[in-house]
Symmetry: C2
Subunit: 221 residues, 2 copies
């Protein structure tokens, strides 16, 4: 009997992610995989992005957490369809977890699906879920040494949102170093300096994301 | 031929961690496994702890990072023996990585070995390395919802150091919620409210750690 060996878990995940992607393309759903350290501001950025783009696009959200539904609760009150993934200990979302949520969505009515990953600057970057782009948040209190120390997530992301710029007077954050080191990992990285608290800089992020969605829709008429 | 199957990677790791522990006990070396999200202040807490305790104890440090040696460089300038582990992508330190560093140390001359783990609030908590205690840092900009969302690291730690209390006026941090939820995971958790920047609250941490080391030495005469 021939035994098929799955070469590694990442290969298997890539195949599931490709299936997800095919399904999203069929329904013209643009998917953002949003990643960061715990507490960098993912859920707040999702809330602000919903607020800015909900009149133009039908938006849905997948919340990834080890346990708890407190982030999903924050999205649900905005009247946005949201599904919570509880990973039960796992440190990232993978393609299969996303696939399991899809029957809960009416995909052909969704323009933009935002997947908020588990708070973790390492593992989520290794797993495709069928997204169009990965985007990541670096918050100023984390420090400017993070791009040099955690290069993969910067390399894999299309955008880096530098959040909590309102805290710059109170933390040691070398903006030029953070940007320079991130661009070493990924010279095409789009960079936004924002404060989700004051909304400073967010309009550039909204416009950039809108351009991405429009370009995608043109490619998939 | 009988094939021995290692039941899972955590079992194998536990055995290596026990071997490490036996070697530490033989040399009366107290080992702290220090964990947190990226940028919560692990290296700064290590620097401050060295400064406070170096006249009483011989201290050494293992720095764990995916790549880079910038944290180890910060410790080396203090004249403290330090070994850098570069995990090359892995999101945590395990027992075997620590074992590989041990020939670099003169263990019988080390009273306190601090292992600074990779910045990650999830995976490091799953792996024993032969430590006496795990300790973790929660920084106030990360938010008070972290104990509810990432319970394992609070459950596994003997101490939670709430750092960056100097930023409390500028961030939304519910101290009572953070402490209450952390104690739900671990009713015996020792909690310290500190600012590594201003040194506020650190003396309680130093005293607690000193008591732990002294108690260990009494048990291993």
């Amino acid at each position: 009997m021939k035994i098929n060996v799955v070469q590694n878990v990442l290969d298997a995940n890539d195949r599931i992610a490709m299936d997800n992607r095919a399904l999203f393309d069929k329904n013209r759903t643009y998917v953002v995989n949003l990643m960061s350290s715990p507490g960098a501001g993912k859920t707040t950025l999702v809330e602000k992005t919903i607020d800015a783009l909900k009149d133009k696009y039908a938006i849905s959200v997948i919340e990834g957490d080890i346990q708890d539904t407190c982030d999903a609760d924050r999205i649900a009150v905005l009247g946005i369809p949201v599904v919570q993934i509880n990973t039960g200990g796992a440190c990232h979302i993978d393609g299969n977890m996303v696939r399991e949520t899809l029957p809960s969505f009416d995909l052909d009515k969704i323009d933009l699906l935002i997947v908020e990953n588990v708070g973790n600057l390492v593992c989520p970057a290794e797993f495709k879920i069928g997204e169009n782009i990965k985007a990541m948040i670096l918050s100023t209190p984390e420090g400017a040494d993070k791009p040099a120390k955690y290069p993969l997530i910067f390399q894999e992301s299309a955008a880096m949102i530098i959040n909590k710029t309102d805290l710059i007077p109170y933390v040691d954050f070398d903006m030029e170093r953070a940007k320079r080191d991130a661009l070493v990992s990924n010279k095409d990285l789009a960079i936004f300096e924002v404060s989700c608290k004051t909304s400073s800089g967010l309009s550039d992020w909204f416009r950039w994301l809108e351009d991405k969605i429009e370009a995608y829709k043109k490619q998939n008429p």
